[in-house]
């Protein structure tokens, strides 16, 4: 199996480096090919997502992604900024289903600003649509008839887009508690009304799943008030972006959380939910666990290696239980030391 390793910017190379070491140690039949992406690719090729990188990602059986984003390019046009690389990849790979689990790690509850008994009870997954919404609708700048500068972005979904992500939501809920909460803003948005209609239609196929609906502002509130009440959340691209970052911070350990972005055939792109953290890049301070756990998700969802995935997840839990703490977790362990601890526990 071929893995495209796209390390990207900032701490991306450090954390994917540790994930690679863990994968190598498992002695599975994996080949790795690297390519540049983000600011690194812009420096080398004048574009954050060069065609060779897209070609490799499409050819590979799965993509292991680090992070993109570099303040050195803040002044560039949006289309050339490092972040465009991840948006372009999601679209080129048709990875429309983004799974973002947020679960407390035993022993890490103190890292959360939530009371420990609240943080400890969090165990949810956000299923975020990743190929549509206001991210990919018609967008631009123009001057109005009155001579004013204007910016616009079209939010839109069609029923096919909603249906396929709704199915992922229901199937995910079924493997968990059987409760699915669909988040929208149907009291204001037509897009959300279509979303809600279609989710209700799809529900007919899943009589065993209990479906509820919540407005996004209320969801942001309930994620603080009673996060344990959520199990599976399905929502659009924009709301999912906001709520998943919020949920991960409620858990208290953003450096621990992986994500999977899947296409219709189970091929996927795997990345930590944290960003490129340019302020600590290259200093060995980054927590590689999110990248290592993303590699585990890759083994499970795209490579049919569930047992190996379990081993990695257990090894990370052991390292944490053993007291290993990178700075984001209040400790002083280096990126490499955390990687070593996971390797030792494999």
């Amino acid at each position: 199996k071929l893995i495209a390793l796209l390390a990207g910017d900032g701490i991306g190379p450090e954390v994917t480096g540790e994930a690679r070491r863990v994968l190598d140690a498992l002695a599975l039949d994996l080949a790795f090919e690297e390519a540049e992406v983000g600011g690194a690719a812009y420096r080398a090729h004048g574009h954050p997502l060069p065609p060779e990188t897209v070609a490799l990602a499409q050819r590979a059986d799965a993509v292991l992604f680090g992070a993109v984003g570099d303040p050195a390019f803040d002044a560039l046009d949006r289309a050339l900024r490092p972040e465009q690389a991840i948006l372009g990849l999601r679209k080129a790979l048709s990875t429309f289903a983004n799974l973002r689990p947020a679960r407390g790690f035993p022993g890490l509850e103190e890292a959360s600003t939530l009371k420990p008994e609240i943080a400890r009870a969090i165990d949810l997954v956000i299923v975020r649509e990743l190929n549509g919404d206001v991210y990919f609708g018609d967008k631009g700048r123009r001057t109005t008839d009155a001579g004013l500068r204007e910016g616009h972005d079209l939010m839109r979904y069609d029923e096919a887009e909603v249906r396929r992500i709704a199915h992922v939501g229901f199937r995910t809920a079924r493997t968990r508690s059987g409760r699915l909460c669909s988040v929208d803003k149907a009291n204001v948005l037509e897009t959300s009304q279509l979303w809600r209609d279609v989710v209700i239609e799809v529900a007919a196929d899943y009589a065993d799943v209990e479906l509820t609906h919540m407005y996004v502002d209320n969801a942001a509130m309930q994620l603080v008030r009673n996060p344990a009440a959520f199990d599976t959340i399905v929502t659009g691209n924009l709301f999912g972006d906001i709520l998943s970052d919020q949920a991960s911070m409620c858990v208290g350990s953003i450096g621990m959380l992986p994500s999977a972005s899947l296409d219709a055939d189970g091929k996927g792109l795997y990345e930590p939910i944290h960003g490129s953290a340019p302020d600590i890049a290259g200093q060995g301070k980054a927590n590689p666990c999110a990248a290592i756990l993303s590699a585990a998700m890759m083994l499970r969802h795209s490579l049919g290696e569930a047992a190996a995935a379990d081993r990695i997840e257990a090894a990370v839990a052991t390292a944490i239980r053993g007291g290993m703490r990178t700075p984001d977790l209040g400790g002083t362990a280096t990126t490499r030391a955390m990687g070593d601890a996971v390797l030792a526990a494999l």
Copy 2:
């Protein structure tokens, strides 16, 4: 001075009733006129925002608003649903600047799910644009050429809309700590890039205010990680909707928080940030403090009665210090009992 009293649905009448009693007790020269709005108006007139209600609101010096929303009308077309009343009023009154303060109340930190020392330190205000964005852009449903149902909502801002809310943000920051954080999603949205450009231009008039920019997903994260780091936040309609609900729940006492929606001349609509809470309507369980504090904001911002506003706010603080607790605060006091306690402390 004429106050339009729009009590609305659910707990709206109960909580505005207590606010009215407090205002009456101050013996200011205020006249009140009531009108129906939301589900109540739909029942009486077949529309959630009848023309007489709009006319009264426009004629009045200020509007004291309760809440709208009634699940009995969930099946209605969006344009006829109770929530349309508040959207329509905001537009009819050109109240483009929504101020949502979120500050812990001494003695109420335990109500928050955040650790007490985190909740106690929260003291921020969100300045939310209220007349534009994806709320009011072109929206609709159609069938695509491929025969698929589609929904769309246009997100848009022009520079004049951004400029006037940016000025409110800077002026607000100036009366506080002098720190303004502008929240957008400029790495994805053209609307946000225009927003950021214009906010930076306006900053030239406020050399004494320190301006920072943050992406909305990061802001949702930082509101959990370190809410005390925020002072004044300025953002668009949709992001402000989500972040202000989240921030208020971080404080832990959504039943305590008021809001003001102001036009260019200081005329305004004042409402609790909580909703109509149909599940507890008519049972005397609602906390009237948010409505009472909204009345105080009205006195300060629209009626030139700052001293009276101070008196109300002090009286609410006294009632809370005295141990008065409605069910949302973990107690059993009735709506009326809380109102009585505030009146007694005036």
